[in-house]
């Protein structure tokens, strides 16, 4: 990836992270930790990968994205706002009565949201249906979904993965955000899903493992996804991430799974992000 391009994506990802803090601060609730871990991938998807048009959010032939880990909605909303699907100011009304930004994504209220999610394990099945539908209609449409590493304890995830392979959905990109933490503790402690790569491989998927905060690595993974088309195998990206990434006091802290920052914490987080912005701009 060109340095300029990487710099641009990095700055956009910082704006997305600022949006996550703004949203959860004003909502006085929400899930900043898992939003921050997925922020870089979401930024890449919406600014480099997905063929979507904010001026025509329901365009029939667009690529589809399903946030199976629907509680990371603040990150999705922040990136959709950055992309121009709706005003960035809307983030201040996250979870407010009358605002289209629900606690978990609603496809009928928020422009750019392709599937209503929030109940874990269900989004990936819808993504399978979309990819199957694209194949049935012989359309060049790719479908992307992000799952949490806690989420993959849901049996439905494996029903869906089995069916994705069975249907030969090589137009489906399954991304797992492996930040290692879930509500009750580490994934290893709560429900150990390891080895995740061997599981997806056993389900006849093509699997790559990357650093989910490295845009070069994300780009390489997406190149591999496109190269994999024609294989009949669903493509899986296992991305190692840091829960709370970019906000110093939230990083790797399980307590920030589902808790909003107060004003002081918000200010400190915004200062962290401003410092990071300065460092990128001056580099």
């Amino acid at each position: 990836m060109l340095a300029e391009e990487k710099k641009d994506l990095s700055l956009k990802a910082l704006s997305v992270r600022e949006g996550i803090l703004t949203g959860t601060l004003n909502a006085k609730s929400g899930h900043p930790g898992g939003s921050l871990s997925a922020a870089d991938m979401l930024t890449y998807l919406y600014f480099k990968e997905l063929r979507v048009d904010p001026k025509d959010p329901k365009k029939a032939d667009r690529d589809r994205f399903v946030l199976s880990k629907g509680h990371a909605a603040p990150a999705l909303y922040a990136v959709l706002a950055q992309k121009g699907f709706f005003p960035v100011e809307d983030l201040q009304k996250l979870r407010h009565i009358g605002c289209h930004l629900q606690g978990h994504p609603n496809m009928n209220l928020t422009p750019g949201v392709d599937m209503s999610t929030g109940s874990l394990g269900q989004g990936i099945s819808a993504a399978v249906g979309m990819a199957k539908g694209a194949k049935y209609m012989k359309k060049d449409i790719n479908v992307y979904t992000i799952l949490g590493d806690g989420e993959i304890a849901e049996g439905q995830v494996w029903e869906a993965t089995m069916s994705a392979s069975h249907f030969g959905l090589d137009n489906l990109c399954i991304i797992v955000d492996i930040n290692g933490l879930q509500i009750d503790g580490t994934t290893e402690f709560v429900m150990n899903s390891a080895p995740v790569d061997a599981k997806f491989e056993a389900f006849n998927c093509q699997v790559v493992k990357i650093d989910g905060h490295d845009f070069d690595a994300i780009e390489n993974a997406m190149t591999a996804f496109h190269a994999n088309m024609g294989s009949g195998k669903p493509f899986v990206i296992l991305m190692n991430t840091i829960k709370g990434k970019g906000v110093s006091f939230m990083e790797n802290q399980v307590g920030w799974h589902g808790k909003a920052p107060n004003q002081d914490e918000y200010n400190q987080g915004m200062a962290d992000l401003a410092n990071a912005r300065k460092a990128i701009e001056e580099a």
Partner: protein
């Protein structure tokens, strides 16, 4: 009814899908390893590329159907009522109901007439589960002709639909030119002594019961309520006003199904005595379907017995009902006592 043709309503499900598919490319069918039993195998044989078997994984099947529908495809997802409505309840609620997606669920083998497979497969709770989902249309055809018409109407409407079909062969009483409308009940026999509102395969039993009751001097209005949600409140209120008492009959728990849907309308709009015939908060068990239906009182004989007793018991309240708008409610309550 010895000379009456008997066909299971699930046959109509498979036949209708085939007929619609001939004209509409956007219809696809999903199954969970029960294509033979749900009768979608007829569709599968004609349109193998449009039949997606999801294996024994109902939760995923419902989610896949949701995803397909967002692409402009109209998926019909089939399984047994128990697994479609029960196993996949939360997927239907969150992935179909909440986004109000255009998915049609065809649930066969509803009720205890599943027979020998026993209670684990005899779903008497599906109307209750599906009724509680906002925006969900819930229907159950009374015979094979209505089943075919219902599937076509479900395809034509936009939004989620749950349809329950039966396993057992049951009498066909509608003529081929029958017109079906979602949300509208059907008066099959006029009467003013009592209204018997039935759904699904209990409708032919209610028709038979109506004949016996008439011979015994009780003029029963027989209503086929194929759409359980949205219920035809207008027809229920009219029946209450004109007949003064209502009996409901369903092959479903008396909790949460047709009986309670009717009770809801009556208690708010026109309170008259109501008797619910259905499965009385219990599980079924193994046995031949016809014997089970008799044992659980889901048959013409029991409808006659219950209705006759009910008409006798409610003789006093019946008189007070007609002018209810003009009557002091306290006086009316006294007359019921």
């Amino acid at each position: 009814m010895a000379d009456v043709q008997k066909i299971a309503t699930r046959e109509g499900y498979g036949d209708a899908l085939k007929q619609i598919a001939a004209e509409h490319d956007n219809l696809v069918v999903l199954d969970a390893d029960l294509a033979g039993a749900t009768k979608t195998a007829k569709f599968q044989k004609a349109y193998p590329d449009r039949h997606f078997n999801c294996g024994i994984a109902e939760a995923n099947m419902i989610g896949v159907a949701a995803g397909l529908s967002t692409m402009g495809i109209v998926p019909f997802a089939a399984s047994f009522a128990m697994f479609a409505s029960g196993r996949a309840y939360e997927q239907i609620r969150n992935s179909i109901g909440y986004p109000h997606l255009n998915v049609k669920i065809g649930a066969t083998h509803g009720g205890i007439s599943v027979g020998e497979d026993g209670a684990s497969h005899q779903c008497c709770e599906d109307f209750a589960l599906m009724r509680t989902i906002p925006g969900m249309t819930v229907m159950c055809p009374a015979d094979n002709v209505e089943a075919i018409a219902m599937v076509k109407a479900a395809y034509e409407m936009e939004g989620p639909v749950y349809m329950r079909f039966g396993r057992a062969a049951t009498p066909v009483f509608h003529s081929e030119d029958f017109k079906f409308e979602i949300g509208k009940g059907e008066v099959l026999q006029e009467g003013t002594d009592v209204a018997i509102i039935a759904t699904g395969i209990m409708v032919p039993e209610a028709i038979e019961a109506g004949k016996t009751l008439a011979a015994n001097g009780i003029k029963a209005r027989i209503i086929n309520m194929a759409t359980i949600k949205p219920i035809d409140a207008e027809m229920v209120i009219k029946a209450a006003k004109e007949c003064g008492r209502i009996v409901t009959v369903e092959e479903h728990s008396i909790i949460g199904g047709l009986g309670e849907a009717v009770a809801g309308v009556l208690s708010e709009e026109c309170p008259v005595p109501l008797k619910r015939i259905g499965v009385n908060d219990e599980f079924g068990h193994s046995g031949p379907a016809a014997d089970l239906l008799k044992q659980f009182g889901l048959c013409a004989d029991n409808i006659v017995k219950v209705t006759t007793e009910f008409v006798g018991k409610t003789a006093a309240s019946k008189k007070a009902v007609a002018p209810i708008e003009n009557v002091d409610v306290r006086l009316w309550l006294d007359s019921v006592k």
